[in-house]
């Protein structure tokens, strides 16, 4: 009964999404207020029925109703309650439900916060969002219905992949989906503006907070995923250039570029067609990610069960949406050509242009490496795989110029900057950076650092120091009693840039100075690495609520004093018998020590992996700082109060002409 209600609610949500898209788009095209008025309530109804359907699935998971195939496959009374609730999105069908729920939430947020926008524009945005949800509802209902019954019911349930049984399962996917799906809002704003043929500073200001919000979620999602793989996969390392990691990283790079180019569109009215293209590309890449994960065309640890029918459906969805959006772009964008003001070579505009070029080049490099194996195979040229060395060698050099720009760009004036003014801003940080660089060179020579370590730290320090300029300067001015406000958007930008510096330091130090060794040891033996002595004390059987396994004890000494006692584990889950390697990690700001248990080698010996990861925590910390910066910028007042002003653009009758009243805010 509950399952049937779930399907029924899903179908109702689809119908509401269809009417949302039809009345939203057709109403705006024919300027019928009554039609347009349907879009908003349809969006609310869509979320209501989607949430109802989602709750039904969750309920079925919690009570482990084995007459529903999806539940029988992935729910199990042995799993703790917590994971039965989160387990809903642990496999393909349920994760599509989560995707739809998240899309419904974004749609409703747009519906609520777009009430002050011109009604034609907001109903077009809702219409486009409705088209996207309709596509995914159809996909879920036709190829991945989670409520399909199974007769006779299964006798006992299966389990989730044991790797997924982790607290981060509860937050990582929803965060990532909030980010992925959130890019659909920027996409819809862009498409709506292209349909209406009007793209101006106001449009950029409306799009910016949505893009920023999606970017914040995407950042957090990626960081959590990276942290998860670090401690759960059991072999150490926090980024593998796995196709699915890349699939989340590419939209992130494009969204980062988009945030910056939106700034230009908002302040200067330039880059508009480029910004629109970025918005389309960002969402297309997140659709591409969905396709890659769910079609089985690439090998990845994240891949869901393979089903070519699903792959084909998503591909059609991806194709229809992107090709339509691009054709619309082709039709409209030439009209937007070069309507912004011109700018000098030394200007904020050109710095952001370089930023965009570099970010997109980086995204292109990642894209090429991810798709290349598929490309080669389709062309019948054999089988290859592209590994981390490619990405390290191609992606990282592209990022270095970006780190130089990031330190200067914020201090260059719009339209035309002057060298002396920039120099006045950056001279002190430059001086400190110069001292720091000298110190680092000395340390590098002393400690015999590889050149990469030196380069990375020098650039990282540069980013850190220049990010401090603006907040410090404004605080100093304020201290002197001069009028200087530290607006959330400036503070947010500085914090986000600071976060970039922290990430650069973390990545550099942990990858270039980290050490790892695999050693065969038996209880009683010790191993020494990077100033720490690891003693293998004992190994014992262990068990948990739904697993059995072994648990080893290592005592770690630093010099003569005891440092920590750790317990790496190996777990075999029943009933299906997947195994996980639960590494033991002693974390700190300066370094992580990582011990993980490999396979038994016979005669009481075990293969043990030791890792020494200096400053690895900075990678995630920096990412979180970036997200915090984005969040602060989101709190800027200008995104909230602008439209409390006059009722915008009355549909009929006189009123401001479309172009007036837009550029005045910049």
């Amino acid at each position: 009964m509950i399952a049937e209600i779930g399907v029924y609610a899903l179908i109702l949500a689809l119908l509401l999404a269809l009417s949302q898209s039809f009345f939203g788009l057709a109403g705006a095209a024919t300027r019928r207020l009554r039609w347009m008025a349907v879009a908003r309530p349809a969006a609310y109804g869509q979320l209501f029925f989607m949430a109802l359907s989602y709750s039904c699935l969750t309920y079925l998971f919690v009570i482990s109703d084995y007459s529903v195939r999806y539940v029988a496959k992935y729910s199990n009374p042995l799993m703790p309650f917590f994971y039965r609730v989160a387990g809903v999105w642990g496999a393909h069908e349920g994760s599509m439900m989560l995707w739809l729920l998240v899309l419904g939430i974004w749609t409703v947020l747009v519906a609520i916060f777009s009430r002050k926008l011109p009604v034609e524009f907001s109903s077009r945005v809702l219409g486009v969002l409705g088209v996207i949800s309709s596509g995914f509802f159809l996909f879920t209902l036709l190829t991945s219905n989670p409520f399909v019954r199974m007769l006779p019911p299964a006798l006992h349930g299966g389990t989730l992949n044991p790797i997924l049984e982790d607290p981060l399962l509860v937050i990582h996917p929803p965060m990532l989906y909030m980010g992925y799906v959130g890019l659909s809002v920027a996409f819809s704003f862009s498409v709506a503006a292209l349909i209406s043929g009007r793209m101006d500073a106001a449009w950029a200001r409306w799009t910016r907070p949505w893009t920023l919000a999606a970017w914040v979620f995407l950042t957090i999602g990626i960081i959590l995923g990276s942290f998860w793989s670090y401690y759960e996969l059991g072999w150490g390392g926090w980024w593998f250039w796995d196709p699915v990691e890349n699939a989340s990283f590419m939209p992130w790079l494009v969204a980062t570029a988009l945030i910056h180019s939106l700034a230009v569109s908002e302040k200067r009215g330039a880059f508009k067609s480029w910004t629109a293209l970025l918005a389309i590309a960002g969402f297309s890449l997140s659709l591409l990610g969905t396709f890659l994960v769910r079609s089985g065309v690439l090998i990845s640890i994240h891949a869901f069960a393979l089903d070519p029918k699903r792959g084909m459906f998503i591909l059609i969805l991806l194709g229809v949406m992107t090709v339509l959006a691009l054709i619309l772009y082709l039709w409209r964008a030439p009209l937007l050509w070069n309507t912004g003001g011109g700018f000098h070579f030394l200007s904020r505009e050109s710095f952001i242009l370089f930023n965009n070029v570099l970010l997109i080049a980086g995204c292109g490099a990642v894209f090429l490496g991810t798709i290349y194996p598929l490309f080669i195979e389709v062309l019948g040229l054999g089988k290859i795989s592209v590994g981390p060395p490619y990405f390290d060698h191609v992606f990282i050099p592209i990022m270095f110029p970006l780190f130089i720009l990031i330190g200067i760009g914020p201090f260059v004036s719009w339209k035309r900057g002057t060298g002396s003014k920039i120099w006045r801003r950056i001279r002190w940080p430059f001086f400190f950076w110069f001292l720091a660089a000298l110190t680092l060179i000395l340390v590098a020579v002393r400690q015999n650092w590889p050149i990469e370590t030196l380069l990375g730290t020098v650039f990282g320090v540069w980013v850190l120091l220049t990010a401090l300029i603006e907040p410090v300067r404004r605080l100093v001015l304020r201290f002197r009693g001069e009028p200087a406000r530290l607006t959330p958007s400036v503070l947010g930008m500085s914090i986000a840039h600071f976060g970039v510096g922290v990430v650069v330091l973390g990545i550099t130090v942990s990858t270039t100075l980290g050490i790892w060794r695999d050693m065969p040891l038996k209880p009683g033996q010790s191993y020494q690495m990077a100033g720490f002595t690891y003693r293998f004390d004992r190994i014992r059987p262990a068990r948990g609520h739904n697993w059995k396994g072994v648990r080893a004890t290592f005592s770690i000494h630093q010099g003569r004093s005891s440092f920590a006692i750790v317990h790496p584990e190996k777990r075999r889950f029943f009933p299906d018998g997947g195994t996980t390697t639960n590494a033991a990690i002693v974390g700190g700001v300066l370094h992580d020590l990582f011990v993980s248990l490999g396979n038994p080698l016979g005669k009481g010996r075990w293969s043990i992996r030791f890792r020494y990861e200096p400053m690895v925590i900075l990678v995630w910390l920096g990412g979180l700082i970036m997200a915090l910066g984005g969040f602060l910028a989101l709190c800027d007042r200008r995104y909230r109060i602008r439209f409390d002003e006059p009722p915008y653009l009355p549909l009929d009758g006189p009123g401001p002409s479309p172009d007036s009243g837009m550029e005045s805010h910049s």
């Binding site: 089985g296 054709i327 772009y329 964008a333 389709v378």
Partner: protein, 184 residues
């Protein structure tokens, strides 16, 4: 810039996208996890292993000479092997000569398994730690090779053989190789 040229620039993203979608479309039918074995067409790697029943006696590469042989890597703990067991028994009834390699297993458990489920193998050898079969590129069970009468590897299948695959691919291949090779 001329108006016509502008349109040409904006056509580029559409064309790129369409081409890219075409490639994804073509990629849908492929399964990336099937990796062609580099051993196909090559001479079989070393194989010296004790017999499962009589550990003192060894079986070596000369076992392949003169006959078409199916080399099947299995284990008593392997669930997928149970799926393919009936297929192996069917192949045996069809007169196919099968060499079983018992992989990372316990001798008694393996013997027990064969007693309970029937023995499709003409000969079973024992690779307790999987160190010999690693030369064959085997890192899991079940995997199956078709080895020609000159000890040349002709075919490799990863995963349980379904009856369909046995009927359509493996058995016809064995027959063909049999008629090519010298009869002894």
């Amino acid at each position: 810039m001329k108006r016509g040229l502008r349109y040409v620039i904006f056509v580029v993203p559409v064309l790129l996208m369409v081409g890219f979608l075409g490639i994804l479309w073509a990629g849908l039918g492929h399964n990336p996890s099937i990796v062609p074995s580099p051993l196909i067409g090559k001479s079989a790697p070393t194989l010296i292993l004790p017999r499962l029943r009589h550990p003192a006696q060894m079986v070596n590469r000369s076992y392949f000479l003169g006959h078409v042989t199916l080399l099947n890597v299995w284990a008593s703990w392997c669930i997928s092997c149970r799926y393919e067991h009936p297929t192996l028994l069917w192949l045996k009834r069809k007169g196919v000569r099968i060499l079983g390699v018992d992989y990372k297993d316990k001798r008694t458990a393996a013997l027990d398994y064969l007693r309970k489920n029937g023995n499709p193998y003409q000969e079973v050898v024992f690779d307790r730690r999987g160190l010999t079969t690693i030369n064959w590129g085997v890192y899991g069970t079940p995997e199956t090779f078709v080895v020609g009468p000159h000890a040349i590897i002709r075919y490799k299948y990863v995963g349980p053989i379904s009856l369909r695959v046995a009927r359509r691919v493996i058995y016809p291949l064995v027959r063909r190789l049999d008629s090519d090779g010298p009869s002894t």
